[in-house]
Symmetry: C2
């Protein structure tokens, strides 16, 4: 579980403000997560998420002192891009990034909870499908939904996936899942806080792609 | 047809050497081509091709005087990356880019030749499928091939596609296709020359993704 545990998300402060710099550092390791799925079909998703992160980082870099928290960025863009906001800039990038992060969260949680197909316990399609349905499906039109179902055939076996998450080391399934549970604590809190912020600022959109 | 005619490819010299700078300038307008397909499903392909171009440009920029022609780049990489070559650097990026360029070439040629479904003359699926089969299918595993078939449903009507190619101006189909034919002259010669170079240098690979 080195991959995830080496790059833990930080504890949130009581007001749940997310430090931009620490967040960017932590999410910079997320795109590699899609390599653990083992097929180059997923490199497309990796690029999409990578693009989101680069967009947020580019805005942050313009004025790190002004954009200390993620909320600082979203609020500043609400002022400067009033006409197009929230479908603009880092606000749009973070809107989509949080959905990808939620997808990963639910996938890992479902594995940690032991959810499985009784007849195919070494498949993770049921976990991926749950994550997709909760995090992304409603933002995808029927063509992308259908592409998802085809892409599901490229999903790895659970054993291979857990091995990849552990940087290629053979670890016991239970040890790996214990690490996943630990990773999920701050990770889930961070993703929840971003969703809450989008709700509070009315920054959420529900168009489909 | 402004979009294409504004950005014509140059005549090749008799030795068919392709000037890197002029090539990069001409292909920089190619990613927009995928916007003409009208669905954001294709933005994924746009990014892939964009990535290829950026990779080639990055190598060129390191030493423009050394990399005057595309062949200079491919030959230099054969020396410096002997172990991995040709699956490396700008050689790999151009290997894939030429396939995307060939896809576009065959699609446009098929439209210019008047190939159509008699029962659905305003659809371009038959043209896209021909281009896919000749340029890309053999480099795609069954999952990506299946995704192609799903994505085909997002293809635009011919009338909308030709309008987009003409930068949104309503033009007569015949006028637009006359422009396409003119664009194809140097474009096809350039793409052919890249394929020939890959064959001559034994730089072609046939792995699938
Ligand atoms: C040659 C044959 C091929 C033919 C064509 C094939 C086309 C295939 C297309 C499939 C779609 C791939 C997934 C990408 C979808 C993306 O379209 C969406 C929206 O993407 C957002 O769009 C915004 C504008 O609306 C901005 O550009 C955002 O960019 S911005 O930074 O500029 O603001 C961008 O992220 N992202 C998403 O839906 C996010 C997806 C996240 C993770 C998903 C995990 C799923 C795992 C599945 C496992 C089974
Ligand atoms: C959330 C749900 C979604 C779930 C996941 C969805 C996944 C969808 C995946 C679909 C595939 C999209 C097309 C991209 C395919 C790419 O994989 C390939 C190879 O791409 C190359 O790979 C190399 C390494 O092997 C290098 O990285 C190259 O990069 S390098 O520059 O670094 O060297 C890179 O271009 N390019 C291609 O096949 C090229 C495609 C070109 C144009 C195709 C036109 C088709 C038009 C179709 C119209 C109907």
């Amino acid at each position: 579980m080195a991959l995830l545990l080496d790059n833990q998300f930080k504890d949130l402060p009581p007001d749940k403000a997310i430090d931009t710099k620490l967040f960017l550092e932590a999410v910079s390791h997320i795109p590699q997560f899609f390599d653990c799925l083992g097929s180059n079909v997923f490199s497309v998703i990796k690029s999409d998420i990578n693009g989101n992160i680069m967009k947020i980082r580019a805005v942050y870099m313009k004025d790190p002192a002004k954009y200390v928290t993620l909320q600082d960025i979203v609020e500043a863009e609400r002022e400067t891009h009033a006409a197009e906001w929230p479908k603009v800039g880092a606000t749009l990038a973070l809107m989509w990034l949080k959905r990808g992060l939620r997808f990963i969260q639910i996938l890992l949680q479902s594995l940690a909870d032991g959810e499985r197909e009784e007849n195919n316990p070494n498949l993770i399609r049921v976990n991926i499908t749950r994550a997709y349905e909760q995090a992304l499906k409603r933002y995808h039109g029927w063509i992308v939904q259908k592409i998802f179902h085809v892409a599901l055939h490229a999903a790895p076996y659970k054993s291979d996936f857990l091995k990849a998450l552990s940087k290629g080391e053979e670890v016991k399934e239970e040890d790996c899942l214990a690490n996943v549970r630990q990773f999920l604590v701050n990770y889930t809190a961070t993703v929840d806080a971003i969703y809450e912020m989008y709700t509070n600022l009315k920054a959420e959109l529900d168009y489909t792609v």
